[in-house]
Symmetry: none
Subunit: 210 residues, 2 copies
């Protein structure tokens, strides 16, 4: 029985690369291609006998994790593998939590990728090796308190300590105290870095995506 695999990526180059990889695993397989998420959805709706879907995380019309949840919902048993240029722990975690069966950084070696794909095809779950190290350094739950999140939102749009103090009707001393605490928790040294880090870790809504 030939495998039928959908590869969705907006970069033809990557499409080409993945196809070559797949043929290295199993020369006799059927590769379908999509260049954006809505095209991928159409194919998935039509092709009921798909064995695997490989998705680029940064793809036109692909709303990141949201799109994974959507797919997982319509096809609960279809193996989904995310291929992405990002190696952020938060991206990996979110993808898996959203229902992906594997997450392969684009920087992975050819054999690693092939093995990862084999693993997922046989029903497994693949996570990159760095994951363990990353998730160890990167903490567990809820990073910031409610107040700190509120303050972070103001921080992200460039408010000064004084302005933040006025907004929440507290002393700027208190704002500083919160910020010092935030910096320690995020392991950063200044407000701009804190904003950057918070966005990376998904602690801040929007702003980033525009």
């Amino acid at each position: 029985m030939t495998l039928k695999i959908l590869v969705a990526d907006d970069h033809p180059l990557v499409l080409e690369g993945i196809r070559t990889l797949l043929q290295g695993i199993e020369p006799d397989l059927c590769v379908l291609e999509a260049k954006d998420f809505s095209e991928a959805k159409k194919i998935i709706a039509k092709e009921l006998k798909l064995d695997l879907v490989i998705l680029d995380l940064a793809m036109p019309e692909m709303d990141g994790m949201h799109s994974i949840v959507e797919l997982r919902h319509t096809r609960p048993c279809l193996p989904i593998v995310i291929v992405s240029a990002s190696e952020e722990a938060s991206d990996i975690r979110n993808a898996i939590n959203s229902g992906a069966n594997g997450y392969i950084p684009k920087s992975s070696g050819n054999e690693v990728m092939q093995n990862a794909l084999r693993l997922v095809l046989s029903g497994g779950l693949y996570l990159p090796a760095q994951w363990a190290a990353l998730s160890r350094t990167n903490n567990n739950g809820e990073m910031l308190t409610l107040r700190q999140q509120e303050i972070m939102e103001q921080l992200a749009i460039g408010k000064t300590n004084k302005e933040i103090a006025r907004i929440f009707a507290i002393s700027d001393k208190t704002v500083k105290a919160h910020l010092s605490d935030i910096f320690k928790r995020l392991e950063v040294g200044n407000r701009t870095q804190a904003v950057h880090q918070a966005k990376k870790q998904g602690l801040l809504k929007s702003a980033g995506n525009n």
Copy 2:
């Protein structure tokens, strides 16, 4: 005479894709590979009979445009093609100004890429089709100068003035001067706001991806 081509990209997938593309142009050619910029430099220093270098713009140890200038300087006649996920008008312009012979967005179709590579191999200069449209829509004064854009990128990841000064080997006074100028142009009052504003206006890549 067989062509000898160096492909430098840290994503094995893309490497694979480019190799396939190249073989479509000319089955009998020699493809060398590098996974970061310093490796690429080593190969270029050793291989005197190179016909083409294909560089990923976002590569480890690759300092963007600076690296292109460096290469162009050591090998004035070596055709350099940039392959990049970015389609920013400023990136395209800067790459060409830095001495690249072509700029191919990763989103280009296979035939487009092959033709672009053929064109450059035969001594031409390739620019993506969107270029005209982009440079038309993309503003007049570009909002920020090249240097200011470089500084903004460091700002966005939370670097201090001192760190930025060290990175570009200039005085922190100069960094401050640039920042003051940036703040005026973006009509903001501090660095965090500047980052926020720059992201809103699409003057900064990433934001989300990183």
